[in-house]
């Protein structure tokens, strides 16, 4: 191998002097001993430290012959293949592989170290009291700064500006879309569109507006009749001032009492014409007595009236019924066709299918087992129909006319007028038929009077007899409120672990006009306001609704369609009560 050895000497004032020397032979030896091809006069070089051998065409290998090895590109190795630009360190000497040329197979540049830079060489690294230089603190910090700002701010904002990009990011990389801004999970009901932030957040740097909510909840009822009470707090309020999102699946409505009490503490101060009571505080903190809604009858039509439960004199339900709960709940039992039975609340009262309220009472289902509508002693299976007073008389007339024509004795006047007997096939005379009809009519009236005024009907109903032009009876309409607290969110299902009698004093009630619901004090034995200790924490909205207007929707439109629909339904279906 032909090798050019170029020794670089630095002189004073920075002058660089090159000294070229030609070597030939294979291997070329490097060491401190005399006779080495490359002589390195440094104690840190062994006498024979390394060899350079050719290894195939234009390839050269440097091999250390001592255990301390050589430094190849700042790495201590035992042998290395030489490439152009490689730096070989032996002792304080630095050998650089230069591009071959000029007829040489290998060109090496040799730099001998001085005493000073010898000291700075490895293994001594005076910079050791600094952390390693390859970690640049600034680069590392700015890299983090930039990536966070781009990934979590710039990219999501770009996604907002370009909706297609936003949707794409949400679908493939939620962490760098605006999903990364999501401060907490949405309410259960809103989760189905939860990935689309812009369903609610429609404009940047503006809080969520009502139109975002009304896009879905257009028909949600308003709080009040906003024409009668056009309060700015209602007409200009934000949905989001009560409905708070991003607080988890269960949390959606503000629970604090102040929200309601702001107006309801002194309702007249915001709505002069309001018929509502002032509410000094939540349950346990001055909540007014409950008011039952009762049906009254005035000027020929039914009306409802709210009566406070503590006004005993007024608190009468004029239902036109006679029903003493006390009698029916007699612990000794009461007489029934099947013998003595002991009734309980559940004998008649069952929850409606939703479990929230109690299902209505029906005569056939709940009363008829004991209260038979029989009228003829010797025909105990025969009964008059229930629920239709004119039909009762018709039924009686028909029955007695048939009996008379069949020639049966009518016990009551058997002695006074002997029955006329006829042979079969012989047609009765006109006179005889009239006599039979008269007899049946008068018998029906006698029995009818007995039924209506003394026995079957009058047991439970208030009956009104009309004498002109001929005697007939009318049953006064039954007026029982479907619910005494129609606006309350009371749920029987949630209270089913408590015995009925704890709240309903039915066992002592002798009059059907008793309103058998407890007052607010009873509620307060278990329920307390927000933060109440040893009570069930209950807020205004635990029992009261906000969206209760029957006239206006949240978007300010009249709920006409719904109201009409409801009216139509009421007219087309029979009343639920059928006493």
């Amino acid at each position: 191998m032909r090798c050019l050895l170029r020794t670089v000497n630095r002189r004073r004032k920075g002058v660089v002097v090159y000294q070229d020397r030609e070597l030939s032979g294979d291997p070329l030896s490097i060491g401190r001993a005399a006779g080495q091809d490359l002589y390195l006069p440094d104690l840190r070089v062994a006498l024979h430290h390394a060899n350079i051998v050719s290894s195939g065409a234009d390839k050269f290998l440097i091999q250390s012959t001592v255990p301390s090895g050589i430094r190849h590109n700042e790495k201590t190795v035992q042998s290395a293949l030489l490439e152009v630009g490689d730096r070989i360190g032996i002792g304080n000497c630095q050998i650089t592989v230069a591009p071959a040329g000029g007829g040489y197979d290998l060109v090496l540049e040799v730099k001998h170290g001085t005493q000073d830079n010898d000291l700075e060489r490895a293994p001594l690294s005076p910079g050791g009291n600094r952390a390693p230089a390859r970690l640049s603190l600034r680069a590392w910090a700015w890299l983090l700064f930039g990536s966070i700002l781009v990934l979590f701010l710039v990219v999501p904002i770009a996604g907002f500006t370009i909706p297609a990009l936003g949707n794409f990011l949400r679908s493939i990389a939620p962490p760098i879309s605006d999903s990364a801004w999501d401060p907490g999970s949405l309410n259960r009901g809103h989760r189905f569109f939860g990935d689309d932030c812009n369903a609610c957040h429609r404009s940047a740097f503006f809080s969520v507006r009502n139109d975002a909510c009304l896009a879905c909840h257009k028909s949600a009822p308003h709080h009040v009749d906003i024409q009668a009470f056009p309060l700015p707090s209602l007409t200009e309020g934000r949905c989001a001032s009560c409905h708070k999102e991003h607080h988890g699946a269960e949390w959606f409505v503000r629970q604090d009492e102040d929200l309601c009490l702001d107006c309801h503490e002194e309702i007249k101060s915001v709505a002069e014409d309001s018929k509502l009571l002032d509410v000094p505080g939540n349950i346990g903190e001055g909540h007014p007595e409950l008011r039952a809604t009762l049906i009254t009858h005035a000027a020929g039509k039914e009306q409802s009236k709210r009566v406070s439960l503590d006004r005993k004199a007024e608190l009468k339900e004029r239902s036109n019924l006679y029903f003493p709960h006390k009698t029916h709940l007699d612990r000794q039992g009461i007489i029934s066709p099947d013998g003595e039975v002991v009734l309980s609340c559940a004998s008649c009262h069952a929850p409606d299918p939703g479990g929230r309220r109690m299902a209505p009472i029906h005569f056939e289902e709940h009363c008829h087992r004991c209260h038979k509508l029989t009228f003829e002693f010797d025909d105990p299976r025969r009964e008059v129909p229930h629920g239709n007073a004119p039909a009762v008389l018709e039924a009686l007339k028909s029955y007695y006319a048939l009996r008379t024509l069949e020639g049966a004795y009518l016990e009551s006047d058997a002695a006074a007028s002997p029955p006329s007997r006829q042979r079969p096939g012989e047609r009765a005379s006109t006179m005889l038929r009239r006599e039979a009809m008269d007899r049946a009519a008068s018998q029906a009236e006698v029995v009818g009077k007995e039924l209506f005024e003394y026995r079957a009907c009058a047991t439970c109903h208030q009956v009104h007899a009309v004498a002109e032009p001929f005697t007939r009876w009318e049953i006064k309409p039954v007026r029982i409120a479907e619910a005494w607290f129609p606006k309350a969110r009371f749920d029987h299902e949630q209270h089913k672990t408590i015995a009925c009698k704890n709240c309903h004093a039915a066992a002592r009630s002798e009059e059907s006009e008793d309103v058998l619901v407890p007052g607010i004090q009873k509620c307060e034995t278990c329920h307390g306001g927000l933060g109440a200790e040893s009570r069930v924490e209950s807020t205004c909205v635990s029992c009261h609704g906000f969206h209760v207007s029957k006239k206006y929707a949240m978007d300010g439109t009249v709920i006409r369609a719904t109201a009409e629909k409801r009216r139509n339904r009421r007219e087309s279906t029979p009343p639920p009560r059928d006493f």
């Binding site: 301390s68 000291l119 001594l124 050791g128 009291n129 983090l144 979590f152 701010l153 708070k244 949390w251």
Partner: protein, 304 residues
């Protein structure tokens, strides 16, 4: 008299910090928001503003400590306040978020802030613990690390000189031990400590060899040393037998001295590294926190 930055003005800033923490905790306890506690209530916004202001002020410490001509308080005072108010930030930010955490940029900011504070607390620990050990380690060596390094280089030279007189193989052995002794090689090596083991091994071998005048019981377990089927150590030991006892003793003394010195240099490097490496996390993460904080604040108001 020197006063630690921790005890600056009789713990003045510790008192401010505790007052700030106490005020925040009491307000939080008395606060009864209409929604679950979060950054969006009036207290949430207040604590958030205080927290953000604190973060900007704490970051400003990096600028202030470079303003050598500033008369805006002593740097010791700034550091004292930086440490104590930085700790208060942990409480303020936790109350700000009302313990609501999720996988989002807001919690990212929180986590980064916690990491910055923890790394800072570790930094306070290193500044309180290592300087004393550093001084002890450098006893009689002066305070300049270069002195120690010059000493190592000088020992190396003297070892090589003697070894060269003892023969090529011994010289090779010593050369090898010198080449393999790395100081401040890598971050982890600095942090974890420890000297190049080969130097230690060699010293032990030589000691046992000379002490008992026997061949070493086990060769150095390095394949390179067994080139040519010859066990280098045995050879070296034989060389010892033939060389003058004075030279062997001198070489051993030098090697021992170097070993002790290298241990001290390594400890020195390690203490320095430990005292500075936490700043890599502290500073870099605090800059990352600045970005996350900007993203947090902007995103909150972007989707208000």
């Amino acid at each position: 008299m020197h006063v630690s930055f921790l005890a600056y003005r009789r713990f003045e800033y510790l008192k401010y910090s505790l007052a700030l923490i106490g005020l925040s905790v009491i307000t939080y306890a008395l606060h009864d928001p209409s929604v679950p506690p979060n950054g969006g209530t009036w207290l949430g916004y207040t604590l958030g503003t205080v927290g953000a202001a604190l973060i900007f002020w704490l970051l400003w410490f990096g600028v202030r400590k470079r303003q050598y001509h500033s008369h805006l308080g002593q740097l010791t005072g700034w550091l004292s306040a930086h440490v104590y108010l930085g700790f208060a930030l942990l409480v303020i930010a936790t109350l700000h978020c009302g313990f609501q955490f999720d996988w989002n940029v807001h919690t990212l900011s929180y986590v980064l802030m916690v990491l910055v504070i923890i790394s800072g607390m570790y930094g306070v620990f290193t500044y309180a613990y290592y300087p004393a050990r550093l001084t002890q380690n450098r006893a009689d060596m002066g305070i300049r690390p270069m002195t120690m390094l010059r000493e190592v280089a000088d020992l190396d030279r003297r070892c090589l000189k003697i070894a060269d007189q003892m023969g090529d193989k011994v010289h090779q052995m010593i050369l090898r031990s010198i080449e393999r002794t790395k100081l401040g090689a890598s971050l982890w090596r600095n942090v974890l400590g420890g000297v190049g083991t080969i130097l230690g091994d060699l010293t032990d071998e030589l000691k046992s060899d000379v002490g008992r005048s026997q061949l070493p019981l086990r060769p150095l377990a390095t394949p390179i040393m067994q080139q040519g089927g010859e066990m280098t150590v045995m050879y070296v030991a034989n060389q010892f037998a033939s060389a003058g006892a004075d030279q062997v003793k001198e070489l051993l003394d030098l090697i021992n001295a170097k070993k002790a010195l290298v241990t001290r240099v390594q400890d020195d490097l390690r203490y320095h590294t430990l005292m500075s490496v936490w700043r890599y996390f502290h500073v870099a993460l605090s800059i990352a926190l600045l970005a996350a904080l900007i993203a947090h604040v902007v995103s909150v108001f972007f989707y208000w």
